[in-house]
Symmetry: C3
Subunit: 664 residues, 3 copies
């Protein structure tokens, strides 16, 4: 990410998403005043307003937006202005109908909702620059415009991968650039395997519509290319914004659970890594995760239906904080409209989610949206205000949160003792590698993350190219390809390391490494993996030292070990192997095993562990410990924590928040 000169004194703060184009102009001023009265200081606008800004080509109707900006600014609100490229208007699509994306099955993705464009389409890229230039030129230097957002939710509705002619041309050029010769490409992909060799880059097809699965290396490169297309699209906007609107930080609003592009290179061109947090909708989505069929998952679902999965939001806060200044650009304010089921949040949940974001380092919590829209696709999505302009339940909770924010007293996020290495390519490679319908990267990451949090740990989530120095414990749950630079860092690392299954399982070209080890971590782990046992989640393999520690599920590696075998599987193969400061876990641990292995690793790293009851969670921000309770039962903060409560108390009610001041 770019460094930003922006002063942070104005944070933490509350924001809101607002659509002046949806409401009579005579409501704007009162809306702005009500926002300010609620403690809101930021307002995001215009991300879907293209058809009102430019109803026909080159016929710009700025007047209404000028007045909206003035009204909001005059009320003292800072504006996050957006480029409106997520919703190109109909006349533009009609001018160049081939700008839309094509699905893997060949179906066009047409006008009529949003995100109807292909990142690879050069014509639309030019239009993106043109409208960005126009809006930045008009508003870029206005005082009220204090930040930018590029586009909106890149990839929402599965819009990263397009199988269009434009994408094919772009992919072929990217490959030519990357490989130089087709001989290199054929070799890297192993195209000899099924006579898939190509004689020229122009012969390369997109990896869709093949008779059976395409070469996974082919697919991996297509995903890399697709990320590159997003990076280019985004950078073309940021280049213009930085030129025409200097000193304003630029954000993009990412989403939860979304991994179709690598966010890190996109984030490198931005200042702010914001995301849109909808805990209840995401809990519903998680029910379709491949391994979400256990009793534990069902219990969590029932217990947390009105608060969300207890570790999901925190994970994403930590994930995106690793890529820039953390904003919550859209925070769920009440029931939403788009999930399979859309329950009402538990009383207090909106405040709790807000505090949790702050605990994890957020500068801004911005609610989506100010007032419920009575029309179109999201009419059933709650706002802070009801559609009749009376306050909704969420507004009172936001106000309470605003009134409590001073308690932070300058406490700011510091480096955590634990780093968890996360990688988008690892997600793709594990999916493309197959072997098990129950294996999925995010649930595996969450299982490791949850075990740390169940022991009170604060975590930084970092990428495979980030600096690991300064951490007491680095956990690598599943890094399918280990870059040499990380292997080099690890060799010189003096903290504790915990390496999980499939780490180092592939070369950069999606080949198996010549050795049978975790790639370049062969010597540091001292393990050799001779076979993989991919069993359904229902068929576990128990792991024990003197007593049973838990089970492997879904994924189990048969290994030989040079280090000390700390635990064995019932199948007769080592399960946990310790070699100097590095532990290797040869399978996907269930909750019991993860709890055992990770609490032990924390203790070996000198990190105090706490037994967090139920769905109680904690995160440290500076000298404040912020506790939240996702469950439906009152929970008591363990006595192992010591400090002074400045908000709440030791007993945390459902959806409650307690804050403890600590001296450290």
């Amino acid at each position: 990410m770019s460094s930003a000169s922006e002063s942070h004194a104005q944070f933490p703060a509350l924001g809101v998403c607002y659509y002046p184009e949806h409401w009579p102009e005579d409501m704007w001023e009162a809306d702005a005043k009500a926002m300010v009265a609620a403690g809101i200081s930021w307002v995001r606008i215009a991300e879907f307003a293209w058809s009102r800004i430019e109803p026909q080509r080159d016929n710009f109707t700025w007047d209404w937006l000028d007045r909206a900006v003035k009204t909001l600014g005059d009320a003292g609100l800072k504006i996050t202005m957006c480029t409106p490229t997520a919703t190109p208007p109909k006349w533009l699509i009609d001018e160049m109908p081939d700008m839309i994306a094509i699905e893997a099955d060949g179906t066009p993705r047409r006008f009529g909702s949003r995100r109807h464009y292909c990142f690879s389409h050069l014509g639309y890229r030019a239009e993106s620059r043109r409208i960005t230039q126009a809006i930045a030129a008009r508003y870029g230097q206005m005082d009220a415009v204090a930040a930018w957002q590029t586009d909106n939710e890149y990839g929402c509705h599965d819009t990263i991968y397009s199988y269009s002619a434009a994408a094919k041309a772009g992919f072929q050029a990217w490959l030519a650039d990357h490989y130089g010769t087709v001989a290199e490409l054929n070799k890297a992909w192993g195209n000899v395997f099924w006579s898939m060799e190509v004689g020229d880059f122009s012969e390369v097809e997109l990896p869709n519509l093949t008779v059976t699965e395409a070469n996974p290396a082919h697919n991996l490169d297509f995903r890399r290319y697709s990320t590159a297309a997003v990076v280019t699209f985004n950078r073309e906007q940021t280049d213009i914004l930085r030129r025409l609107s200097p000193d304003r930080p630029i954000a993009h609003n990412y989403m939860g659970e979304f991994a179709q592009f690598d966010h890190r290179p996109v984030a490198a061109d931005l200042d702010i890594a914001s995301w849109d947090s909808y805990p209840l909708g995401m809990l519903q989505n998680m029910q379709s995760y491949p391994s979400a069929n256990t009793e534990r998952d069902q219990k969590t679902y029932a217990d947390c239906m009105r608060t969300g999965e207890p570790d999901f939001q925190a994970f994403h806060h930590d994930l995106y904080r690793g890529m820039g200044r953390l904003w919550i650009m859209e925070q769920q304010p009440g029931p939403v409209n788009w999930a399979k089921y859309n329950p009402v949040p538990r009383a207090g949940a909106v405040r709790m989610w807000s505090w949790e974001a702050i605990a994890h380092g957020a500068e801004l919590v911005s609610y989506f949206r100010w007032r419920q829209a009575p029309f179109a696709q999201e009419q059933m999505h709650a706002g802070l205000m009801l559609r009749n302009n009376e306050p909704a339940v969420g507004l009172a909770e936001a106000k309470q949160f605003a009134s409590e924010l001073d308690l932070l007293d300058g406490a700011d996020t510091i480096q955590a003792p634990i780093a968890l290495i996360h990688d988008y390519e690892a997600d793709w490679i594990s999916a493309l590698d197959g072997q098990s319908d129950d294996f999925a990267y995010l649930p595996l990451m969450l299982d490791f993350y949850r075990a740390i949090r169940r022991h009170g740990g604060s975590v930084d989530i970092i990428g495979p190219h980030d600096d690991i120095s300064g951490y007491a414990l680095v956990i690598v749950p599943c890094l399918m390809h280990v870059p040499d630079s990380l292997a080099h860092q690890i060799e010189h690392f003096d903290g504790q390391l915990l390496i999980g299954p499939r780490t180092g399982a592939k070369t950069i070209d999606f080949q198996l490494p010549k050795n049978l080890a975790p790639g370049p971590l062969a010597s540091v782990t001292g393990v050799t993996i001779t076979r993989v046992d991919a069993v359904p989640a229902s068929q576990t393999i128990s792991v024990s030292d003197d007593e049973i520690l838990g089970n492997f599920k879904i994924w189990r590696e048969h290994v030989t070990a040079q280090g000390t075998v700390l635990a064995m599987g019932e199948d007769g193969y080592p399960a946990v192997i310790k070699s100097n400061r590095t532990s290797y876990l040869a399978g996907w641990p269930d909750a019991a095993l993860a709890n055992n292995v990770i609490s032990q690793a924390m203790q070996q790293a000198g990190i105090t562990t706490h037994e967090m009851p139920g769905y109680l969670r904690v995160r440290q921000r500076g000298n404040k410990l912020i506790f939240v309770n996702y469950g439906d039962q009152m929970m008591t903060i363990p006595n192992s924590f010591s400090g002074t409560f400045i908000l709440g108390m030791q007993d945390v009610p459902p959806a409650g928040v307690s804050i403890m001041h600590v001296d450290s």
Copy 2:
């Protein structure tokens, strides 16, 4: 519907569907005699015979059909002649290949089965008129031809919505006609929401192939347009038939559970609202209903696998009787071929279904088909005769039914004390509005309907524009949009009213009403709805007054009430609110709650309630109470009924029928 001059004296009667073109001509006469001997007086023919009537363009081969009509007529049978437009022949499709419908995903729906046409295609519309003209001119005035059927099962195999170029042109014209200007359309749809505004009617796309869901208002208008296309198609046929075949009533055969077009405007051009009743196939279909996963549903399935869902047939009899003279144009006579599973009916079920149809006001029960066809798609579908021309089990049951019909002794259907308001648009709007994968309109209607029937009530099902005067109790389970005319009727209504969830939730343009109330029923209900809690069927909310009355499931509204709160939800919001004569039920009731609320409403309306055991059901026709037992156990008619048994007795065996003469 048109009023028909037809005398009803010939009814109730038995009919059968017959395909002379499937059988050697030398069998026809014996077939006709056997029909008459079985008590059958009506025969339907020719709905799939186009390729035999006109094997090449303008080469009509009427001779065989002339002889078939004569043979049947000479035997004393009345003929329901059909227009053969459901199966245009191959030469016609080859002449204009673009007459076929296109699926939402862009796939063409080709020749090779039936219903391979698009209602919007002007060329096929001309052909429909041409063949209707030809067949009506030839047979319209023959004595034997006593009624007409247009086409066959409009919409079967999901054929209402076509995404063809013809449909697009038709839709655009319909919109232009309806809205006048695109500004009006943009406003009505709320197209500003995602820059979806259009500059000209020619820019409007069909609502398919969008990146995510299209604007629900867009979808709703497309459904309205699609209904208009069916109405036009049908009316073009009825105009010709009324001209060339005066004084013959015209029917169309609707289907069970089918709601893709609004049947009421189609019915307005017809005399007879017939439907095709296949209880066992429909029971199988119902297993895929979103909420059909409870223990109760599974028990009903096992208990009723050989009789059908106990309220499904009755519901449809009442539904279609509300749109015209009721005929059962196709009555299941034995196992069918098209459901997921196709069990043999319980002994007696064919007779029971026939009597139940009569109980609900049917004039005619016409079995499908006379003799099992040994070839093509439906060869495993039973007939009254086996394919070797021996009688099937169903024939004996039909004969028994025929022999018992005189017991009716002129009893005819009269207005019921209870009206249930049903609306096709409510079905569409609730589906398009989303919020819950478990919400579906028909199951909700059936839950209300079942509770009435579980208390012995007889019901008329009426549309939102029908007259409600004369009813003691009007139930509105879920009328998503309440027309002003109905609101006006309700204001002046002096009976009891029970209003269910989501009623009045939308304006005619698929927007949320400005108030937070059930639209125009704000003052009559006295409730304000501030939030909606859409939870999975497995997560219920209990409702109690002094004791627990039952639960809300799937849908729960958080309301504030001006009236008397009769019951509260465990979530702290009112559940049942009474305001003068109007009760509002703020959620989808489970069986216990529905039973409590509806029996109370019946009693308040002065309607005697009976506790119907198991799957025993009753319907009144004039001075006759007709009892049927859908279950697999003998059931005893409650003593609360008093009268004289003229068929069967107080103990009704499985698939049995009892008829009681009453004095009222």
Copy 3:
């Protein structure tokens, strides 16, 4: 099949699949020597090597393959050379893009994996002949080349049915040839049913994209045509191979559970009926079988997750042995990559599978593949060697198997006492006939087959046109159409006959027979079938004589019987009917009923029955009884077997093998 002059003295033997093009040339010689050292004498090569043989059109690069053949041959290995037509190279697809297959929904099946061709495409057929000619001319007479394989796994990835223009033209020509006139076609298909009559063969469409299901007779003929296309494609290769490489047997490698083409006419042009046996992957596939939801199935799954379904491999060995000399062209050597889950095999399983193949008459067990490939689609598929060229677990088991083979001592397969009649068209017809989502042909066949094996029986699986003389018992589980020739054989058959449900249910034109009987088996069975009761697998009908024998599931026929009723259903209809030497079973038996009926039939046929415990199975080869244990518990061979153990003993461990010498 053709008779082959090949001496069989070299068998049984071990083989392996090898890809010299995947490895540096300097590894080949050591690989060859290691194969020989492991006891391997056959090696299959080149089936995916087209892009290396002919990198551009007419630019043949034989040199590397020449050297590979020489290296392997010099090591003493016999080579099975393959035609590489399963993977045409990119330049060829680019020359004629319409050579690819089209899916039923209209989607093209493009280059990028394998099998990207349409069997009907005349241009590709010419290419297939050209490359076959080239490779056969070069290698056909070399000493080392001892056998041929045509193409690879016809139909893999559902590639038999193509809905291309080429397929349409081919189908129309085939119909014209078959029917002569469209009048005949219209009559045979019953096209009058829904006005589906055609006026010319050129009007016939492919049976896809119809509004609802196409005429099943239309579909059946399309399947027959598709088989004819495979036969032609394969025969064009065998004609060339027989001419240019005389005296080498020709094989094709079929697959398990695959029935999209009729294998018997293809096999008629081949010498060897080989198949690719992957027990663990197939067990995973079987979990999606319609009726695989019972507790028994779940237990088998858990017990046999590491060995496979106990009767699946044996069934296929017996099936393909009925079509030619039996080879296992690809034998699973460890975990594979393509199933939903891919567990590690139980220790010993590779040896057990190998011995089981021999027990069922295999000449060759050829492992797939020599060494794990570190790239492309199958990189996670185990080989006998790890990718770092150390031995995998499977190699030791193969070596053990090789060292034990002499124990056979010349024992060779002889005619079994029991024949099971299997028919690919019966599979198609039962699927096309519908009536039940739970009915599937292969599970039904396996239920009959399993019951025989549970009683120790050895079986030949034969086709409906094969000779039944010499068998003591012929079982016909479900022969939807009974050819007259078989009916004639049965009339003169003097053994016991057991006929199962749906046998004779259709004429050759997919019509119901005029009589209500099992077609031409009317008099021999003496049953009349008046109705079919198709219920879900969860709703069974019990069957008893004096006591309950078991249940019918899924399919039940209501019959009247002229013979002796041995058992009745609880529904009041006969269940098992005996007429002279013929038993008719009027439904799909569950395990208990199948065990009862089949053990009785075996005893009546004079065949000794044994109660095989658990998953222990036995098959006789000459004077050797070979026992295998698929379960996870030690099992004891029943004392009813008498003989001398020459391998293993009476207690057979999990994945163990025992061999008993018997005198008979």
